[in-house]
Amino acid sequence: MPAVTETREAVEKLGQSSYKWGFETDIDMDVAPKGLNEDTIRLISARKEEPEWLLEWRLAAFRVWLKMDDPKWAKVSHPPIDFQDLHYYAAPKKKPGPKSLEEVDPELLRTYEKLGIPLHEQAMLAGVELPEGETARPPVAVDAVFDSVSVVTTFRKNLEEAGVIFCPISEAVKDHPDLVRQYLGSVVPAGDNFYAALNSAVFTDGSFVYVPKGVRCPMELSTYFRINARNTGQFERTLIVVEDSASVSYLEGCTAPMRDENQLHAAVVELVAMEDASIKYSTVQNWYPGDENGRGGIYNFVTKRGACRGARSKISWTQVETGSAITWKYPSCILQGEGSVGEFYSVAVTNNHQQADTGTKMIHIGRNTRSTIIAKTISAGRSDSTYRGLVRVLPKASGARNFTQCDSLLIGDQCGAHTVPYIENRNMGARIEHEATTSKISEDQLFYCRQRGLSEEDSVGLIVNGFCRDVLKELPMEFAVEAQKLLQISLEGSVG
């Protein structure tokens, strides 16, 4: 059928041209020499003016990492990574002194402007001249991380008034050392896995959030990660602690320039929710996915885990994954508190030669703990996508319940979708449900939409967004709109 050939061609054309975030910023950088050894770690720690205990913690993690092998169980393939051929620290050069927008390199501000990330509080607060029909968005506090360092964090004053701490983790180490020391590595131990150990040894920056007892964070918090420098790994570390009866909604976005070589991103995110606390963590992951031949792109090897420590606490992960050459990521919940709730809502889109092995782990420890997993996988081009999820119910978790739904949508006939659920139940009173479907966008659906006047692309967008609706509706409003557009861009022309 000619339509299919045309479609293939359209998909092939896509590749680079559709990644509009692929520009590079020319900026004066402070870069550590390539290579990883104890000296590199000492250098990072010194640059960050860290206390002795943190340096020791890093070195201990490094010694553990040296004895580990990179994991082979995921359904992804890539040439071995030469960890000595990377820079582990790259920071825009800046003058010392307090952080404010005026002090930030204007080139950097322009970068974030290009990316559509609002860093100017004034303009946002004043809510100046919105286009007709557009309602004012609530402000979002942003922490912007450029390569290895946080360049600016907005709305800190407003947040401080509410008692909320939102700052780069490197600053938290100095200003709130007790909190950091208490919680860092308490959810993802330094030696948890190969990439988490690597991150613990060399992490450079990331966000720290602390919401005290009884406080509902007055605005959405957001971190925007940008990898810019060449041959540089990005190892950010995020730590969010929410005390009793407090709550926060946190958003995370990311992009990178288009480069022929692969770049490594190995982050660790730790969440701690105390009694009746709730954390909503949303990600729109849009790292550069590589070109149409699979050259370049980010290796996204990330460990994300949340601990529901208190009774009735709740952690909800929502992710829309459209980028990266390889994604290896399993945001998880440890449901320790009685009646605590874990949720995982995921849309993973792969096109061209992208590979994604993603899912979640729900560990039911406490009584009456509940978890929900909704995973939507969309594969196009020659891509390969795997849902890998673990539901583990421990003997004391009486009344535990899990519901899992995994749906795969295939576009074209050269892509793959796989579902690998692991269920380990050690409590006879637990209830575990698993549903899975695999489907293709049918010619019938496309023709039906087009007969009603929709273009082929709008038809695909409509059908895909319908497929993902259960997940997209979990995203905060402004992110949901962005995510819908991103889905359409990622799949433009990929009908088969």
Partner: protein, 258 residues
């Protein structure tokens, strides 16, 4: 030639399990503006293929003949261009779109054709008002606009939803492919009334049906008998009763002899 819809010598085939199968073998049919024509005929005679060929489904390959619609060569147009030009197909089996809100789908479709026709798009409020009123006339439950397109709809609800879409998209030419099948008497009357409301000098329709009953409510200007990929007989509305009494045997024998 009617200058409205003219089908001449139309041949079409489909690719069924790797086998090319000739279905339409020279269809000649003209529908003047403002007229409702019915097509009846035995199963497998090519009625649905004709409707898909008119609407532009890609896996129905037209091998010969022509279709002119309001002076344009329909065969050169994409399905969505045909829709914008005023062609509407009410599907025999309406398609389900999971997760796609019915009102949202309708509004997206209405605004897509309005844009293509150079009309202003409808805002959400105006659209919902229009859609609710139209749904009410078809005796549809109010929540059907909120549900996902055709998902979990009963057979009757799906057919009414097709007529609702037709009402809102304001076509100049509608093809109703067995819209009456699977409907009870009351639903049949409501659907027929829905079509009758659209009847005007600027609206023509081609109604594909197996049953005389629909044609009682929806009195056609002409009835055509289709068999083996051709129109083999045409007549006035009285033809429906004759077919109901005698079946297609006589027409088939005549066609054979000719």
């Amino acid at each position: 030639m009617t200058q409205f819809l003219d089908i001449s010598g139309l041949c079409a085939r489909i690719d069924a399990d790797g086998q090319e199968k000739e279905i339409l073998k020279g269809v000649d049919l003209s529908i003047p503006p403002g007229e409702v024509h019915a097509i009846m005929g035995p199963n497998g005679s090519g009625k649905s293929t004709l409707s898909y060929a008119l609407a532009g489904r890609e896996d129905y390959e037209v091998t010969a003949g022509s279709i002119t619609f309001q002076g344009k060569n329909l065969l050169e147009m994409e399905p969505e261009e045909r829709a914008a030009a005023g062609l509407f197909l009410a599907f025999q089996s309406p398609i389900e779109l999971p997760g796609v809100n019915n009102a949202n789908f309708l509004r997206t479709a209405v605004n897509a054709v309005r844009r293509a026709r150079g009309q202003d798009e409808l805002d959400a409020v105006t659209f919902l008002k229009t859609a609710r009123a139209a749904a009410k006339e078809l005796a549809m439950a109010p929540d059907m606009l909120k549900r996902n397109v055709n998902v979990g709809f009963s057979g009757g609800e799906k057919k009414r939803n097709e007529v609702l879409q037709m009402t809102l998209l304001q076509p100049s030419f509608a093809i109703l492919d067995e819209t009456d099948s699977g409907l009870d008497v009351d639903a049949l009357r409501i659907v027929a009334e829905g079509v009758n409301r659209l009847r005007s000098p600027g609206f023509s329709a081609l109604v594909i049906t197996h049953h005389q009953r629909l044609l009682d409510y929806l009195v056609p200007d002409r009835i055509h008998v289709m068999a083996n990929g051709r129109i083999i007989h045409s007549g006035g509305p009285e033809l429906a009763q004759q077919i109901d009494r005698e079946g297609y045997t006589r027409f088939l024998a005549e066609a054979e002899a000719a």
